[in-house]
Structure formats: C-alpha cells, structure tokens
C-alpha cells in the first residue's frame, strides 16, 4: 500500500493512498468542520462546509471526497475559507425555517454549533420563509421539513446501514426535499423498520422522536458507529 506525503496547514502529513483529505487531517489532529459527513456511511459532499484550498487549484475542494495526492499543499482555515464557511451556514439558515427557540434540537444541534464556530451572529442573506410541511404520520417519529438542510444523512444511514431505503431526495433546487417511500406519508411506508437510525443521524431537529419537545432531542450517535464497526471489523460489543 503506497503512502502519500503532503502538507496540511504547513504541517507534513503522511496518508495511505485512497484516503480523503478529511481522513488524513483527522489522523493528524487537524480539525476541518463538517456537517453532512457522517462516519460509517458514504460521503455526499452536499453541505460544502469542509471545503479546503489546494495549492495550484483555483477551485475549493470538499475534503470529505477529495483523495490525497503526493505533494499536495492544503490549507483548511484561510480567511477566504472562513468567509465562505460563514456564508454557507448563513445560507442554510436563510434557506429553511430554523427557529432555534422552539426546536427540539436547541442546544444539541450541529447546525447551531457550526453557526457559533464560524462566528455567525446574524444572517446577511434575507430569510426565505419557505412553505414546508411536517409529517407526523409515523407512530414513533416525525419529520419537520422546515428544519431540514438536505444533508442526506438519513437517506444514507437508512440505505447503507439499515438496508431499508425509506428515504430519498425528491425534486431539484428550492423545491428539493427528503421524500419517504414512493412519496407516501412516512407512517405508510412498509419498508420502514422503525429502527430510528435516521433520528440519530439527523444533525438538526428535522427528524425527531415523538413526545420530544423544545431542547429535548438526544441522539445515540455511537450506535451508528457501533453498527459499522460490528459489520466491518467484527467488533460485537460497545
């Protein structure tokens, strides 16, 4: 197995061929903020939060899907990237209806945490206030599309870990939304095993357990990692 040598923020890094910049950075203790990335399932590069600068390329590249190459010179936290990341988070807030004060995930939300991390004290983009729906037809869970950032984590955990593929992405652009089954109410989708992995994977308060109210959402994120480890490394205990 060949090893690639590169630098991240002027720190020399060695990483196995085929690793992504995000994995290489993580192994070297360099923090790159992420949002749609979820350990154990395939990367989607949907949120653009992990964009990095690579010397010699005039395009910013998502660290979660860009593989390391010999001699790469990578920067993860330049003023340009800081500026784009803040814009990215502001756009996510402006696109949906994110009312932290009345959200189940208030205080336990990756979007909210990122807003703090990128220094967003307000959105410079006008809020869209789109008309979106809430589906509480499932006996145990609900999905509030107002809070959805289309990270597709639910789609990926359901397909790749549970193997049920209840979720998918419907439509394009501003009409894009997470669809259940064959565009059915969630509660009528026979494929759903009610395993709750989508609840654990959801970074915001979009998918939640019924009966959870403001500030009360908790996740068992370690469960997803455990299942992946059990499958791939045959580690059967937590």
């Amino acid at each position: 197995m060949s090893v690639k040598t590169l630098t991240i923020n002027n720190i020399p890094v060695a990483a196995e061929q085929g690793k992504t910049i995000l994995e290489a950075a993580k192994e070297s203790g360099i923090h790159i903020p992420t949002l749609c990335y979820l350990e154990g399932v395939s990367p989607a590069a949907a949120c653009r939060v992990c964009l990095v600068e690579i010397e010699g390329s005039n395009k910013l590249q998502p660290a979660c899907v860009t593989q390391v190459a010999e001699g790469m010179v990578i920067y993860t936290d330049t003023p340009k990237l800081q500026q784009y990341r803040r814009m990215d988070i502001e756009l996510l807030f402006a696109e949906g209806n994110h009312v932290c004060a009345v959200c189940v995930a208030n205080g336990n939300c990756e979007l909210q945490d990122l807003a703090v991390e990128v220094g967003m004290d307000h959105s410079r983009f006008p809020y869209r206030f789109p008309d979106r729906s809430v589906d509480v037809s499932h006996p145990q869970f609900g999905i509030d599309h107002n809070r959805c950032i289309l990270c597709t984590r639910c789609v990926r955990v359901c397909d790749e870990i549970e193997g049920a593929h209840v979720w998918d992405v419907a439509n394009r652009g501003e009409n894009c939304y997470i669809v259940s089954g064959l565009h059915q109410p969630w509660g009528e989708v026979d494929a759903c095993t009610s395993c709750g992995k989508c609840v654990d994977a959801c970074p915001t308060g979009s998918i939640f357990r019924k009966g959870t109210t403001t500030d009360e959402k908790s996740r068992d994120r370690a469960k997803l990692e455990f299942l992946v480890n059990a499958r791939e490394k045959h580690e059967w205990t937590r």
């Binding site: 209806n97 009312v99 004060a101 205080g107 807003a115 703090v116 004290d121 809020y127 789109p130």
Partner: protein
C-alpha cells in the same frame, strides 16, 4: 463625567429579552452609575424616543407600521444600535407568520377562521397599527451596529455585551456564550 444615554425599545417580541435584562439584578444598580435610561418600557415612562441616544437595545422584529416608524426614529437618533435577541436578529417566532405569505392570510387565520364569537378583522386606523406583509429582522430595515442573539440572551450575555460599551469599547461577539441562537 457625562452619563451614557441608554435606551431599550420593544418591537415584535415577547418581552423575554427585557425580562432577561432585568435579570441582571443588582448589576442594574452598577449600570445606573454609568447610564441615564432615557427611554425604555422597563425603565422610563417617556413616550417619545429622545434625540442623541448613545446606546439602544432593540428587542423584537419589525412587524407593523408602528414598529417600522419607531425603528427609523431609533436609528436616526442613536449612535450604537444593538439587535437584542433572536427576534431582532432573525425575526424568530414572530417571523413564523411569514410562512403563511403576507398579512392578509395571517389576519384571516387569526381573526376569522379561529374567531370564536363575532369573527371580524381588526380595523381601527390610527389606533391599531397595520401589519406589515412580513416580519423583518431589524438589520433588514436599518443598519445595526452589534448583534446579540439568544432567546432570550442570558443576563450574563447582556452584561458582557454592555460592559465594554461603558468604557467606550466594543464587545467581542464570539463563541457559544455570546452568539448561540435559541
């Protein structure tokens, strides 16, 4: 030493930010050494927003004609305007009516569809201010100098934001303690 002319205004919000302001308790006595409260729903009985205000905390979004006129007056007469709390910064809960698309469906929903007895739309020109089509964050109407998110911002956050202003400095609005929404 000239005291700082300090004001607070209450637009479309629940007054929770003002309650949190009062929650600074005994520090309010300390604050009174440095500032004159020249206009505030919780600290003054003046009805007209005065000239030459140094610092003003604005709670709430801009939801009606009254809010709109007041915020323009506040901006014109104030040196440092602070968006005070999530409603001022994002429109927050009052802004949730924006999803219905315009003031008419909102009024119809509230006063006709949900009106138990004698459903009718409120109409008292000059007394009941007209709703704007959308509730707006303050910075979408006038320029804002400092943003203080929070629903409500804790009294510690308010204190940390005001304290530097008393010495002529600007607060650093960074980190979870200062800018977390909700």
């Amino acid at each position: 030493m000239n005291k700082i002319k300090f004001a607070t205004v209450w637009l479309a919000g629940c007054s929770g930010c003002h309650m949190s302001f009062l929650d600074m308790d005994e520090w309010l006595i300390e604050l009174a050494k440095y500032v004159d409260i020249v206009y505030s729903p919780v600290g003054s009985d003046l009805k007209e927003y005065p000239e030459n205000v140094d610092v003003c905390l604005v709670e709430g979004g801009v939801a009606n004609q009254d809010n709109l006129e007041l915020i323009h007056q506040v901006r014109k007469r104030t040196k440092i305007l602070i968006s005070f709390g999530d409603c001022a910064v994002t429109a927050n809960v009052p802004g949730m009516r924006n999803m219905l698309g315009g003031s008419e469906p909102v009024l119809k929903r509230a006063y006709l569809e949900l009106g138990d007895v004698t459903p009718q739309l409120p109409n008292e020109p000059g007394i009941v201010p007209e709703l704007l089509d959308r509730v707006l964050p303050v910075h979408e109407v006038v320029p804002v100098d400092i943003f203080m998110p929070g629903c409500p911002p804790s009294s510690d956050r308010i204190k940390a934001a005001i304290k530097p202003l008393l010495k002529g400095d600007r607060p650093t609005m960074e980190g979870r303690d200062m800018i977390k929404f909700g």
